[in-house]
């Protein structure tokens, strides 16, 4: 996976150090397991700024594998990753719908 260059319309993702779970950086610098809560960068500078926050978190031993992920806004105005691998990271294995984030959030609605 080639690392993306900072640009507009990106999320910052990583894996939580303790559990390995995929997490997404929110605007206030905390991590969420829900990509819809993530900060969607508005410009390359914004991505860089978010990336700096994420790297600081990595240095504090909170997350591993900090990286940028391309994203767009869903119909409900929430950000969502566009690439397959980020999609799958966010939700869980497509072959085990009972596992991962998709299971934890399954049909609460």
């Amino acid at each position: 996976m080639a690392d993306l260059k900072p640009a507009a319309s990106q999320l910052i993702s990583a894996n939580a150090l303790w559990t390995g779970q995929a997490v997404f950086l929110t605007r206030d610098g905390t991590w969420s397991t829900d990509p819809a809560q993530a900060a969607l960068s508005t410009s390359a500078e914004d991505s860089l700024h978010l990336l700096e926050m994420a790297k600081a978190s990595n240095a504090r031993a909170e997350v591993e594998l900090v990286h940028l992920a391309a994203a767009t806004l869903r119909e409900d105005g929430r950000p969502w990753p566009t690439r397959n691998r980020e999609y799958i990271r966010a939700l869980g294995p497509t072959v085990r719908r009972d596992l991962g984030y998709q299971a934890a959030t399954a049909r609460a609605d």
Binding site: N15, W18, T19, G20, Q21, N84, T94, L99
Partner: protein, 551 residues
């Protein structure tokens, strides 16, 4: 089963303590991500898409019931109730938390298991024929040799920092069930009329980005000199292997670029230099290792059993399973029972904790306490009395473990692919599931006969696609999952590398393409011809035509 001695135990305990320490230092921020990554991988811990993954070594694929129960316990306690058997005869857990890893390793150590030699640039877990000690045609049990090499290479100072990881396989039957020609070193046991027992040594095979069927470097190395010869190979490689380029650092590339003759010459020189001072280690050690193997005491039985014959006559499903999944044992009255981890439409290699417990119970009660993992991601009960087969089958059937498809179209090898793996370009498992469902629905697996389909989610080829009669490689084309099709590979004694048919297919298209290839085979085959035989006779042309038209 091999009994580990105190020395092994001490090493493993020490490693766990060091790892526990490292985890704490990472969690408290005293180790950086990069520093910690090296340490965790040395202990079999990878970070995957959704979680950490723990790879547990199953040396030469041998397990006893105590170990299998422990694997079930770990799946239940620390994971999400299942594990995944791999093509390296290992088991992987997909969900354990980092903080639990040291405890899991402790639990494993309690049953003589560990995650050493599952990663890093060293000699990996040595693999062997899963039918070892049971196969009717084997020359000798290959496991003592595998164990000899394991002990010699484990933490061997000279070989702990090789240019790249290094994989060795040992096979002792004419049928190659260990894929020796696709390993860095493959040892094929043979008897020489003059020199007695020894090995033909294949060097420089491999899959990945640049697949090679390994050439035979030396046709015969006497048993007593095998470690010395291996040492000569590894030294030559260690000296020449390129550390500046990971792809070029494999011995297969070295042998290919240097040429087999030149490399062989180097090895022979080193071998000749080492021989005079080499001790008789293999002979003495082999005797010790053999004595440490708890080999089953077989019952003396007639080869036929009336109740078994009766069950075959009255229960068609059982008879079908026996015909497909059960193979001859060297001991009269016994059989080798293959347990498919490929239910139709299921996930290849996955097994639930309850299923693990059941297999362990069967091994303990009617299987001389032995279980094997195969590189085709299945399990084997290597020693079952024929008179117990019906009971075994009934229990397996109830647990969803009696799919009769060994080496059939639905016995698909698939790597975890993009559903789990950080390196993946495309998903593998759903393709395997769809193909399997398709064959199941058409009910023509028996008609098709032996057919090995293998799927990898990227060029690392963990799913052995190069060696598939039908191989599938997932690629990423501008964000779309696409699949390349290869035909005519084989991982057995007639090893070959599959050839790409042409442009790739999308997710739905690849399933149809496999169907088209199989239809073409069925239309063109001569009586009793397998898929591979037909392909080798006809070449790719008729298959390409069926897939892409004549244009």
């Amino acid at each position: 089963m091999y009994r580990y001695d105190d020395y092994d135990q001490t090493i493993v305990r020490q490693r766990i303590n060091d790892f526990r320490d490292a985890v704490e230092r990472r969690l408290s921020g005293h180790l950086s991500e990069e520093e910690f990554k090296l340490i965790r991988q040395m202990n079999g811990v990878y970070l995957q898409l959704h979680a950490y993954m723990l790879r547990v070594a199953v040396p030469y694929g041998s397990l006893d019931s105590r170990q299998m129960h422990k694997l079930a316990h770990i799946a239940r306690t620390y994971d999400k109730g299942y594990g995944h058997f791999t093509t390296r005869q290992n088991i992987q857990y997909n969900w354990p938390a980092l903080r639990d890893m040291p405890d899991i390793l402790e639990e494993l150590a309690a049953v003589d298991m560990h995650a050493i030699q599952t990663s890093g640039n060293l000699i990996r877990n040595v693999t062997a024929d899963p039918y070892a000690g049971a196969a009717a045609e084997e020359l000798a049990d290959p496991r003592p040799y595998a164990e000899l090499i394991r002990q010699w290479s484990t933490l061997h100072p000279e070989f702990s920092f090789l240019p790249r990881k290094f994989k060795i396989a040992v096979n002792a039957s004419a049928t190659d069930r260990a894929a020796v020609k696709f390993h860095d070193i493959g040892l094929q046991l043979k008897n020489d009329p003059q020199q007695g027992r020894g090995f033909s040594v294949v060097v420089g095979g491999g899959m990945g980005r640049t697949p090679f069927v390994g050439p035979i470097l030396r046709d015969f190395v006497p048993e007593a000199q095998i470690l010395t010869y291996l040492e000569a190979v590894l030294r030559s490689y260690n000296e020449l292997g390129r550390r500046d380029n990971a792809f070029k650092a494999r011995i297969k590339i070295l042998v290919h670029e240097l040429g087999k003759e030149a490399f062989s010459e180097m090895v022979e020189q080193e071998f000749a230099r080492l021989l005079p001072t080499a001790d008789d280690l293999p002979t003495v050690e082999l005797a010790r290792i053999r004595s440490q193997f708890i080999t089953p005491t077989f019952d003396q039985l007639p080869d036929q059993d009336a109740d078994y014959e009766q069950a075959l006559k009255t229960d068609d499903a059982f008879a079908h399973w026996v015909a497909v999944n059960v193979v001859p044992h060297k001991q009269p009255g016994y059989a080798i029972a293959n347990i498919s981890l490929k239910p139709y439409g299921g996930i290849p290699g996955d097994i639930s904790a309850d299923q693990m417990d059941l297999v362990a119970d069967l091994a303990q009660t009617v299987g001389h306490d032995e279980i094997r993992a195969t590189h085709a991601q299945n399990l084997v009960l290597p020693h079952v009395r024929k008179r117990d087969l019906y009971t075994v089958w009934q229990a397996l059937d109830k647990a969803g473990l009696a799919t009769a498809n060994l080496d059939r179209a639905s016995d698909i090898i698939a790597c975890p692919g993009l559903d789990y793996c950080v390196l993946a370009n495309a998903r593998s498992i759903p393709i395997a599931q769809e193909i399997s469902k398709r064959f199941a629905a058409k009910g023509r697996e028996d008609l098709i006969g032996e057919l090995k389909i293998k799927i990898s989610g990227c060029i690392n080829a963990c799913g052995h696609h190069h060696a598939g009669h039908i191989g599938i490689l997932g690629v990423d084309r501008k964000g779309e999952e696409m699949y390349q099709l290869t035909l005519g590979g084989s991982g057995a004694e007639d090893a070959s590398i599959g050839q790409i048919t042409g442009r790739g297919f999308d997710e739905a298209g690849i399933v149809d393409a496999v169907d088209t290839v199989v239809d073409t085979y069925l239309g063109q085959r001569k009586t009793d011809e397998t898929f591979l035989e037909t392909y080798r006779r006809l070449g790719p042309a008729p298959f390409k035509e069926a897939l892409y038209g004549t244009a």
